[in-house]
Symmetry: C2
Subunit: 344 residues, 2 copies
């Protein structure tokens, strides 16, 4: 939303550039080039959304009305917001937010990751830079304290996009990132959840839907979008199972031309519907807003209860849409919005 | 293309169904329900396309004008065509074709897979059923003779979509599929290719683009689409590196509403552009034909030399599009088309 006065001054400022440009062969416009949106006050705009998982979040079971979770979300959101406000990049902001949620034992990523069928923790993460579609991801890593930072190193320091299993752990050793033993990831809460799941399965009850993810999407002052997602997967998953979080196009996507997306929910459903890329495609091919695109996919393609997404558009518009009982989430922008929520 | 007479008899046959339907609450039409296309002769239509990789395929280096490769492609194509002609499903047809190309030492999948940086073979594969978006994939498996069949078992016998590394090999053991030692995958040709790549890197030359993939897409007589892709990845890749082949939405996708796609080329580029899903999205959201959609993505989004795709639409239209020097490929349908090619 440009004010008339700003638009006019931009036109005037633009004139010498136009004249200069005519003197040279001009390259075709790059549709992915950052477009800095100026707010009426003249300050470049930034925006960020975060999530800490979606699913059956029972009000009765969460003590204090979710105060501990909301406090954690608030701290993570402020970390991202202040990074952007200080002129940091969206890539740095989403990595910092996801690192902080990985370190927080309340969420299913890094410390506090769920137990798999072998009683182990295997972690997945992805990060994507909307400026040039650069992306990095790791899956089924067992020794890395902050998988999201390893994903960023895959993006920046390897010719690859996705490294899995032992190979990814070896890459972590080469990169010198902080590594930990499996016991680091333990929390009593997740252990009990796993034991309960095992009892249910022994009794022939259908598998629960115990999952969770953390993620962040951001637009920075330079007009660049980024997305990051990290998870411990689903409780009692088979060893080697990979969900949507580290799959570019499923749980994570960012393209300056359209939007940045991070998803959370039933990973297999997010993969088969290519949820994150489908939202970007609705914006690219149908001209949908981020809200329309997110609702169309979450309500029109996923099954009720499957989960949700956070999306930021190139203009800083935010959409936080879910079809589950709740989604740990937060949103902030340069216009002063700052809120964290669990339920509607 | 229905004949007027066929259309009329279908209308007459449809009447009692309509009357019956009015007596019940009718479920909304399922857009993914198979729509059997009747050809003028009255026989249901089927179509299949296959590939054996794209890239720098030098005419000078391939003996016999590629006769051996063309013979292999012809045999694989006939296997798929006859499966469909006999009333087999598209899912069975693409699995059979890809299995036969995995067993063929000429192509980079199964026997004949490339060497990674550790001198090992790590294999990736995915299969997808367009009828219900069911999909299964494996990555970085080391002991499985036919990764595509393991991918199908992940789809049909596990609650998951993607299994990687050791966990996937253990799942293979549980499923009782044929397993082999690493030496099974060895071919002199791939070993020499790896040694040459190592020499180039030691000399400081840029990394080569030695990759390859096999894949198939098909429409069966029941109107269902399926896609399958399998690969050994890229020569001298890092242990644990996963390309686009097993990534649903990147190298493999199938949706009865739109198309089935299998890709081959620079895996990282296919992942960041979500190539297979992007082609489906162009058909869904822009009404593109399979040819238009494939060309738009391969020529408009990928870089020259990145590779190619094979696509089949719900009407049996085939598109085989690449921007590299060549692509091992074949196409057949119920109208009598049957051709295999390497270059334009």
């Amino acid at each position: 939303m440009r004010s008339p006065m700003l638009t006019r001054s931009l036109l005037i400022l633009g004139m010498p550039v136009l004249v200069l440009a005519l003197g040279h062969a001009t390259p075709p416009p790059d549709p992915r080039r950052a477009e800095v949106i100026l707010t009426p006050g003249g300050a470049p705009r930034y925006a960020i959304a975060i999530h800490g998982g979606a699913g059956v979040i029972s009000k009765a079971k969460i003590p204090d009305g979710g105060k501990a979770h909301l406090d954690s979300l608030r701290a993570a959101l402020e970390l991202g917001r202040s990074t952007l406000a200080a002129g940091g990049t969206s890539l740095d902001a989403v990595e910092k937010v996801v690192r902080s949620l990985e370190d927080d034992p309340l969420f299913n990523a890094g410390k506090g990751a769920v137990y798999d069928h072998d009683g182990m923790h295997e972690l997945d993460a992805a990060i994507m830079d909307g400026r040039r579609l650069a992306c990095g991801a790791v899956a089924a890593v067992k020794t890395v304290k902050n998988p999201i930072s390893l994903a960023r190193l895959v993006m920046e320091r390897s010719p690859h996009v996705l490294l899995v299993g032992e190979g990814a752990d070896r890459f972590a050793a080469e990169m010198g990132v902080a590594r930990v033993g499996q016991d680091y990831f333990h929390t009593a809460h997740r252990y009990d959840e796993w034991q309960q799941e095992l009892r249910k399965k022994r009794a022939g009850a259908p598998a629960g839907k115990s999952h969770g993810t953390v993620g962040a999407v951001a637009l920075d002052r330079f007009g660049n979008l980024a997305a990051a997602t990290s998870t411990g997967g689903t409780t009692d998953k088979l060893a080697g199972r990979v969900g949507d979080s580290p799959i570019v196009g499923a749980g994570t996507y960012a393209d300056n031309r359209t939007c940045a997306v991070s998803g959370t929910g039933s990973g297999e459903e997010f993969i088969r519907h290519a949820v994150a890329h489908d939202i970007a495609a609705l914006i690219e091919y149908r001209g949908a807003t981020v809200q329309q695109a997110a609702e169309s996919v979450v309500r029109g393609k996923l099954r009720p209860g499957d989960g949700g997404v956070i999306v930021v558009g190139r203009d800083g518009a935010l959409a936080l849409v879910f079809n589950s009982e709740g989604m740990y989430r937060g949103a902030a922008d340069s216009a002063g919005r700052f809120e964290v929520k669990i339920w509607e």
